[in-house]
Symmetry: C2
Subunit: 352 residues, 2 copies
């Protein structure tokens, strides 16, 4: 150790010496599962001494011995993206009380980076991984799961694998929103879709197409513009392409709030008001969204609950001998009606 004055930590040996019993006895006395085989008196004496000396178990040592580190890995794309902190807190809400620590890594959706970070987690012997940055088919993840590392994916789902996934009901959300726009009188509705390689991007887009067809909506090529990332500037770029296509849409259903914010900015720059000229809807209901004008009508996802559910499943996989886990856990979503949707100009004119 570099630091001077580094006091060495109290070990089982120190307590053994102090109490006059063997290290293994101390170990047993301090482990709830094994202290049954000891005299109550010894257990208590050891416990008290450990307490008094300020003993802290060395998880490296016990982990080396038992292959359990009480540490899990959280793989997310970018903690800076407002939906993830809530998921993280949801995860933590179940893991922390059980004594688990979390190593959090940001992949920035770079697969090279992701692979390096997954290695980093494995080297540290994490007991399990919650993966919120999985691409649709990721060999590295499948391999890790095959190696026996307990794993759950969040938001996204790995194709052709039996890795449990916790997702929100994207399809239902898109369908609710499209129906809502339809009920407001919209008939030419565009979609700013998310990245095709993310499973949410794909799921929402597919749901959009299906719901649009079910409603008998016109759906030209130009109606769907794909974004490369879930970010404002991609929303701007996509909205520009949409405007320049010349298709006379009256509403944009965006795959994500940030795309919607970007789209609204572009509309405004072109002199179009939301919702008077064009209605725009989001997805996620991220924090602070309700303070931004126009207040975005969106689909609320239960981020915290998603995190919580994924952690609960991971714990089951890590601790139960033969856990029966559903392949997919789907959480409900909710339509949040705010101010970014109005009847289309034409329709309202007709209504007058």
């Amino acid at each position: 150790m570099v630091q001077t004055g580094m006091k060495k930590a109290i070990t089982l040996r120190d307590i053994a010496r102090e109490t006059g019993v063997h290290v293994s006895t101390v170990s047993r006395a301090l482990d709830a599962r094994t202290q049954a085989s000891l005299t109550a008196e010894v257990v208590e004496r050891v416990r008290a001494t450990a307490e008094r000396m300020g003993y802290r178990p060395n998880r490296l040592a016990s982990g080396l011995r038992t292959n359990r580190t009480m540490t899990v890995g959280l793989v997310i794309p970018d903690i800076t993206n407002a939906v993830f902190p809530l998921i993280v807190r949801g995860i933590e809400s179940v893991l922390e009380p059980l004594g688990y620590a979390s190593i959090i890594v940001n992949t920035d959706n770079l697969s090279e980076r992701e692979h390096r970070l997954v290695d980093l987690l494995q080297e540290r012997g994490v007991d399990g991984v919650i993966h919120a940055a999985a691409t649709r088919n990721d060999p590295k993840i499948v391999e890790m799961a095959a190696r026996g590392i307990p794993m759950v994916t969040v938001n996204r789902s790995i194709e052709h694998s039996d890795i449990p996934a916790v997702v929100s009901d994207d399809a239902r959300g898109v369908q609710m929103m499209l129906q809502y726009l339809y009920d407001q009188g919209h008939r030419r509705i565009a979609h700013l879709s998310g990245p095709a390689q993310s499973s949410t991007g794909q799921a929402r887009r597919q749901a959009f197409v299906e719901a649009a067809q079910a409603l008998g909506l016109e759906l030209p090529q130009a109606a769907i513009v794909e974004s490369a990332r879930y970010e404002e500037d991609e929303g701007r770029r996509a909205a520009l392409r949409l405007l320049d296509s010349g298709w006379p849409f009256t509403a944009i259903l965006c795959a994500n709030d940030r795309l919607a914010l970007g789209a609204i900015a572009v509309l405004r720059a072109r002199g179009l008001d939301c919702p008077a000229d064009v209605s725009v809807t989001g997805f996620n209901d991220m924090p602070l969204l309700d303070l931004i004008l126009p207040r975005l009508t969106t689909i609320r996802i239960q981020q915290f609950e998603v995190g919580k559910a994924s952690a609960e499943i991971l714990v089951r996989i890590m601790t139960e001998t033969t856990p029966r886990i559903p392949r997919e856990t789907v959480l409900p979503v909710f339509l949040v009606e705010r101010d970014s949707v109005a009847p289309p100009r034409a329709a309202s004119r007709r209504a007058c």
Copy 2:
């Protein structure tokens, strides 16, 4: 291990057996610092075999031996608070390339919780701690530093200790903002201060008092209202108290953006427009703030840079033998002029 099909990992022994050299030779061949003492041929053969077999070092084992885990602890109040993700990414930007992993814990500013989490970090043998949730005098932190664990505090600074701190120039930020309001014609300026137990809350408040006195401003008791937390509802509560005090202020300098957003909401509810009736300013310039109307005039803090600086310092403490670290590293702040400040009614009337 619970999982079936758990393939055991490749160890140095496996590589030793495969290459026909001793484990220690393998160990040396794989360590850049020691491979100099080996034949280039052996080094290469071992390296290639390790690569081929997919060897991953077991950090538990090496950590147990060396007392270095290449893992650091990040103690923050709440990752859900928008300033922290940026700090985390700043920290990561220096730590990750060096091979460090980060265990992130949220204290919710609960000292009981913080102590438990700090123990959790210590049990896992973190090489150092970046503490962004320190209260002004925290015995646990001082003790940990005294134990020799490399440590840096962020945003807040521990009183009477020599633990390095990375902070933003709060005093200068407050002073700039007060001067700005003064220049716009404001003379009766209130302050919604942050929590007294946080060092930023204290520093900003003190800076406010000093700057106000320097400008010769009127400063009755009612002019400063303290908040319990840096949150919107506390901003609302404090603004209500301010309004009910009857003091005819024309501007509110808030210790934080979220307090400002809360204050503006209350003003609006009372029929007062910001900035027409009352000017309000924030602090931090948190993400998305520029999309919320009225666009808040605020002090920008370089969160990412703060994180980066703290990590750089931590690395120096962890690796250099006799690092000379300044007790406090102060990063500059910037006034961001937006739309929440206007000349006071009286002054503008006079100007007409």
